[in-house]
């Protein structure tokens, strides 16, 4: 009977490991989806030569040089420019007309990883003539990823896909207008990030900032468990202006979220939500 309820050794190790990481380094992964996190930590143990998570735990506590490497395993950095072109086309055709009515704009790319989505939005806003009145905020918990985002340099062999995606998103020019190629890499036009603030920010432990008109957070919340998803969407709700927009990943939904009622399905197929007026205030328009 006790056998049935006793937690598995690996689960105990994982819980203790995450507590240690939080206590010592203030990185809070305790609310991450366990199945995927376990997988990535098994990989980290293999690559870092630790037979068990307890061994990696010991190393994490004594050797802070292992932390950046670990963060690269624990955060998923997989993205493409204009990934899911239909999402960017929907922004271009149906969200931009709303944004054009504001005198100035703030856009938050939450969990920007190595920056593919940030540059996609910066290009889209330039093409739609909104760049000059927009401030972009690109945040992530992983410092290595943020540095890559700031550099804006990607492998040249990814440009074929990025170019195709850009065209399918309704891009007016050619993507090659925005980068130059050298030494097998594509370096994106540095003026694209002139209006971007890059910042270390955790959706798990940091608070809200800015009055955002658009938050794009795609394929980030899938790595969170439901309580942390609730917390993050609560942050987005507080950060958005009334009638501001939240864009999510193609397979993400607010349906199981505690704050789902605060948002309207603006473009359900493209997973673009709009923050509702304050329903508790009868005088709010």
């Amino acid at each position: 009977m006790t056998q049935k309820t006793a937690p598995k050794t690996e689960d105990i190790e994982l819980r203790l490991f995450l507590e240690a990481m939080y206590s010592q380094y203030h990185y809070d992964f305790r609310g991450y989806s366990r199945a995927s996190l376990k997988r990535r930590l098994v990989l980290a143990c293999q690559r870092l030569g630790c037979p068990t998570l307890s061994a990696l735990h010991e190393r994490l506590l004594r050797d802070d040089k292992v932390l950046p490497q670990l963060l690269d395993y624990m955060t998923v950095q997989v993205s493409d420019m204009f990934r899911d072109p239909a999402y960017f086309r929907a922004l271009r055709e149906q969200i931009i007309p709303h944004l054009k009515t504001y005198p100035s704009l703030k856009v938050w790319v939450a969990g920007c990883s190595s920056g593919e989505e940030l540059y996609s939005l910066a290009i889209l806003f330039r093409e739609e003539g909104l760049e000059g009145k927009t401030m972009f905020y690109a945040t992530d918990v992983n410092g290595n990823a943020l540095a890559k985002a700031e550099a804006g340099v990607y492998a040249l062999d990814r440009m074929a896909l990025f170019t195709k995606n850009h065209r399918l998103s309704g891009g007016s020019g050619s993507l090659s207008d925005y980068y130059h190629a050298a030494y097998g890499a594509a370096r994106f036009d540095q003026t694209l990030r002139r209006r971007t603030v890059f910042s270390d920010h955790s959706l798990a432990s940091d608070s809200v900032f800015g009055e955002m008109h658009l938050i794009s957070c795609r394929n980030v919340l899938i790595y969170f468990d439901r309580p942390l998803q609730d917390l993050a969407v609560g942050l987005f709700k507080d950060a958005l202006v009334r009638k501001g927009f939240l864009g999510m990943g193609a397979r993400e939904t607010l349906r199981f979220n505690a704050h789902s009622k605060a948002f309207a399905d603006f473009l359900p197929h493209e997973r673009i939500y709009q923050k509702q007026g304050d329903t508790s205030n009868p005088w709010a328009p």
């Binding site: 989806s33 199945a35 995927s36 997988r39 998923v76 997989v78 899938i222 990943g249 397979r251 349906r255």
Partner: protein, 200 residues
């Protein structure tokens, strides 16, 4: 004498397949009744930009509910959940599904290994894993994880599968895996996993 395979107290079924998937799944899933007592989680390798998903194709042929998995969706009986193209699916401790955009595994996203290993971790011996026709070795490591956790692994017989590489690899990786015909697999599922399967 045949081998008797007894499968009782199942909580879920996981299926992995690639080349030949539509032919095999079109025989396995349509006979299942609307009130089928188990959840079925499926990872199929498909190109990410295919306009018609395999889930919507099978929806029209099946009586059980067939859908693409959504993130943090509860896993319910009588439902077949397909991994959406270009995402891994994993099972969480609270019996919900998670999506993941991690790197492809065995050149595949969704990867069968990723689904099977997480399901083995949560369901242990109460899991039935099925490898159908396929043309790479994804699923072999996952099948082995299911076997090690005490679950049951059945493999579409390589001789009758459209592509035999995936069944062969799973049989080689998992010593407890048994090759069976699609007909026997269907009969076993129709018994809700509670029946005995007799192989000649």
């Amino acid at each position: 004498m045949g081998t008797l395979i007894s499968i009782r107290h199942l909580d879920a079924v996981v299926i992995g397949t690639s080349t030949g998937a539509i032919a095999s799944l079109s025989r396995l899933l349509p006979p299942l009744p609307r009130d089928f007592p188990l959840a079925i989680l499926v990872a199929v390798h498909v190109p990410a930009d295919q306009p018609h998903s395999i889930a919507s194709l099978l929806q029209t042929k099946c009586r059980v509910r067939v859908k693409e998995a959504e993130d943090k969706e509860p896993i319910l009986p009588g439902t077949v959940y397909f991994a959406p193209p270009d995402y891994h699916i994993l099972v969480e401790d609270d019996r919900r599904l998670s999506l993941s955009n991690e790197e492809p595994v065995n050149f595949s996203r969704p990867s069968i290994d990723v689904l099977f290993e997480s399901a083995a971790d949560v369901y242990g011996k109460h899991l039935l894993a099925i490898i159908l026709s396929g043309a790479n070795h994804d699923g072999a490591q996952g099948a082995s994880a299911v076997g090690q956790a005490g679950g049951t692994v059945l493999v579409e017989h390589p001789d009758s599968a459209t592509a035999r590489m995936m069944p062969d690899a799973a049989l080689a990786a998992c010593p407890t895996a048994e090759p069976v015909s699609l007909g026997d697999l269907t009969d076993l599922l129709l018994s809700g996993g509670r029946g005995l399967l007799c192989r000649p």
